[in-house]
């Protein structure tokens, strides 16, 4: 079964300012703050000190040192959230009211990027409107192709599905719509014969 070398696996690149955008919406989780701070510094060089069309949503403790750094960078609108779902809910509400000319910047673990992209896709944002930089854990969201449950935070090559308990092989086959990698029953042909469990997505 093909595990790697699959084209749907997303490719990320270091964030860069898109000066053609009129509004800049930035999402970060954890270590994702650093790339955003870098982009904001870049923008200030190009656009001057006014960052009035720039908005940052950040999953973090309100007391985290990065919060002070964002404030020091005088971002017009900085909001912190206790969890990814809370941030995504706000993100969706913002997209409802956003105009053409908006650019999205996402930085954080791949699962965070994937969930943000999934919502962006619903609003028909295309590749040329989104930039994403991966930083943090490589843990995957894994979609069970048998029972359709999604198992979160998967760090191992095989995983027991949270929905049906089947042992799933985690493939590189990625769905943007589901924001998850596909998991396929690993011992369907020889029940009970499992490959050694290994931590691979750290």
């Amino acid at each position: 079964m093909l595990i790697t070398g699959i084209k749907s696996k997303p490719v990320y690149a270091p964030l860069q300012t898109d000066t053609r955008g009129r509004y800049h919406l930035m999402l970060a989780m954890g270590a994702g703050a650093a790339p955003l701070l870098r982009v904001i510094a870049e923008m200030r060089v190009v656009a001057g000190p006014s960052l009035k069309n720039t908005r940052v949503l950040f999953v973090s403790d309100a007391a985290a040192p990065e919060v002070e750094q964002f404030k020091a960078a005088t971002v017009a609108d900085l909001q912190t959230f206790p969890s990814t779902p809370a941030l995504l809910e706000r993100f969706r509400a913002i997209l409802q009211k956003s105009l053409m000319g908006t650019r999205l910047y996402v930085a954080g673990p791949e699962s965070f990027i994937g969930l943000a992209m999934k919502i962006a896709l619903e609003f028909n944002l295309n590749k040329d409107e989104i930039r994403a930089e991966e930083c943090g854990t490589l843990a995957r969201r894994v979609y069970c192709i048998h029972c359709r449950a999604t198992t979160e935070d998967v760090r191992t090559n095989i995983v027991s599905c949270i929905g049906c308990g089947r042992w799933l092989l985690v493939r590189d086959h990625y769905s943007r719509r589901l924001a998850a990698y596909m998991g396929v029953m690993v011992d369907a042909e020889a029940p009970g014969e499992l490959p050694p469990l290994k931590e691979v997505f750290l």
Partner: protein, 320 residues
């Protein structure tokens, strides 16, 4: 595409809809249905003129659900090389024409959240068929239609009847203009803009959308260039071992076809890239008139779109 794949149609209706535009209805001469198409498609009409063949692209403007006839609108071009004059002067009910299968280079984005359609003059034609696709759907859209004056507003009644408030008409004669900046700066995320009309209008819409921060993937346009006239030149076709003369008022593609060599094509208007041909030798310069090659590729002079482009040269050798 070549002539062996054309369909013979009979003209079953001709109507002068404005002083410059005629509306033609075409039915398959052999009976039955015409090929399925989607809104924004065009056909190539092959016209047997006096001493030469014209092949012009025209957008299909009828409903994609009504396949017993195709409808096209033809504007009489002031600087016609013959095609539009032939359609206006020599084609009448009962005339037979050859057409190529429809091709769509101007389709609607299937997952757009809103469509903004902008038409100038005869540029309304591809939108008429797209509106048929949009009409029953749930995706919001609006049409901005700019015309010289009320007598030049082709298909206006049909649009008014069906589109109501979604239609915005602007009359040059009344000094009305589309406020592009306001229009494009206020569209919700996920909107796509489509423009068809005079080249100046297309360039202005693209530039305004870009300055409002629109990414290229949300900007769509279509303009078929008529092959411009130029100085006569000679071309040598390396694989066919043929020397071909290109007269001032005939395109490179037409001249090559007249010499009996087939070149694949779809649009004949410098848009689709199908007739892309390698240049093997050149002593002089190419005159690129297409919208397909990038500026960098045009500068390299290693390829040419013979449907609309020419050369000022002593010698040109093509890989044909």
């Amino acid at each position: 595409m070549n002539d062996a794949q054309t369909i013979t149609v009979e003209v079953i209706g001709v109507e002068q809809v404005t002083p410059l535009i005629k509306h033609f209805k075409l039915a398959p001469a052999a009976g039955g249905s015409l090929p399925v198409f989607s809104g924004g498609s065009h056909i190539i009409v092959v016209m047997q003129g006096a001493g030469r063949v014209h092949k012009n692209p025209y957008s299909l403007l009828g409903s994609p659900l009504a396949l017993d006839t195709y409808e096209i609108g033809v504007r009489r071009m002031e600087e016609s090389r013959g095609g539009s004059h032939f359609m206006h002067d020599a084609v009448e009910v009962g005339s037979r024409l050859e057409i190529a299968h429809p091709v769509n280079l101007f389709g609607l984005d299937k997952i757009a959240r809103k469509h903004v359609l902008i038409a100038g003059g005869i540029g309304i034609t591809p939108f008429l068929a797209q509106l048929e696709d949009l009409h029953g759907g749930s995706v919001p859209y609006e049409l901005h239609y700019s015309v010289r004056s009320s007598e030049h507003a082709a298909f206006l009644q049909r649009l008014q009847r069906r589109e109501g408030e979604r239609l915005h008409v602007y009359y040059d004669s009344e000094g009305q203009t589309i406020a592009f900046e306001t229009l494009l700066a206020t569209q919700p995320l996920g909107t796509h803009v489509y423009v068809c009309g005079p080249v100046g209008m297309i360039k202005h819409v693209i530039a305004t959308a870009q300055s409002c921060g629109w990414p290229d993937s949300h900007i769509h346009w279509e303009q078929f260039s008529a092959p411009p006239v130029g100085d006569a030149f000679e071309v040598f076709l390396a694989r066919s071992k043929l020397s071909v003369h290109v007269p001032p008022d005939q395109s490179l593609l037409e001249s090559i076809e007249a010499a009996g060599v087939e070149v694949p094509y779809l649009c004949r208007g410098g848009v689709c890239g199908f007739c892309h041909t390698r240049v093997l030798e050149l002593d002089g310069e190419l005159v690129h008139n297409d919208h397909f090659l990038s500026e960098a590729d045009k500068a390299k002079a290693k390829s040419i779109m013979p449907c609309v482009s020419r050369a000022n040269c002593k010698r040109l050798v093509l890989d044909l």
